[in-house]
């Protein structure tokens, strides 16, 4: 079997952000379900958290292409 082991690194780096983004949106859905009028405020916070958690996976993706 041949291939690039850096891609495995990307797979590993996607685990953490995957779990993190799941937790963020779970909390967001919970919050909106309990208090629907807070939706607008929670939305920008949830997307901000999503963007920050996603950064690690993006690092992994870029490094998978950099270290060929």
């Amino acid at each position: 079997m041949t291939g690039n082991i850096a891609i495995l690194g990307y797979g590993l780096s996607a685990i953490g952000p995957g779990v993190g983004i799941g937790l963020i949106f779970a909390a967001y859905i919970n919050g909106v379900a309990r208090q629907p009028e807070a939706r607008g405020m929670l939305q920008s916070i949830a997307i901000l958290g999503f963007a920050l958690a996603e950064a690690l996976a993006i690092f992994g993706l870029v490094l998978a292409f950099v270290f060929k």
Binding site: G40, M41, S44, I47, F50, A51, I58, V62, F65
Partner: protein
Amino acid sequence: MSLNVLVSLATADGGGYQTPTSGEFYQPLWFDGPLAITRPAVVLMLSVGLIAWWLLATTRKAAIVPSKTQWITEGAYGFIRNGVGRDIIGSKDFLRFVPLLFTLFSLILVNNLFGVIPPIQYPTMSRIGIPIALTLVVYVTYHYIGMKRVGVGQYFKNLVPAGLPGWIVPMIFVLEVITFFITRPLTLALRLFGNMFAGHLLLLLFITGGQYMIINGGIGLKVAGVGSYAMAFVLTIFEILIEFLQAYIFVLLTATYIAGSLADEH
């Protein structure tokens, strides 16, 4: 982009399937080397012209009862002005940053959407240089307004939250400097680049792979090729969502960083 690959795949029959690589994104149109006029450069200029024309055309005859096009422009502007600028930066200072935020939003959104609009189909932001240029503007802006407001020395002092025990301050200071000067611009540029790059590569893989399977495969692979095309369709819809989201996130983070520089303490 997919067009070139389709053509090259159709001509190179029997050579086995070549998975698309990051090299597909470098497409010089005229000249070569560092001064080459590449496809993203042309798309970027096209987008600037398009945005300028659209904004002028829809707001020149602004009416109290807006037309449909004016309504779209006003909706986008109001979304950035109120939903991002006023809510994040605060009602005192936000107005002077709205032009920056709206420019970034419209430029990124149009360029991202070009990634799926058929005759163009090239997300400009999948070339790392362009997100870096946008990030540089944001980077200089939020450091400049922060340093101008309190002075350079105080700006660095403000990086560390007040009330910490003395022995921990140097460590926190190093961490905060890394966050402010390295991590923030790096993630801002890489997030936009990575999403556009990965999304487009994914579309490319499913479309060229589906085409290869339909042309060169047996009956089973032909069915799988149709499935691959269906997947590409679903992913295109998903990609449009991501494109809106990334433009919004970029502007949201810009506003957050500016608000951090304007806030009284860390």
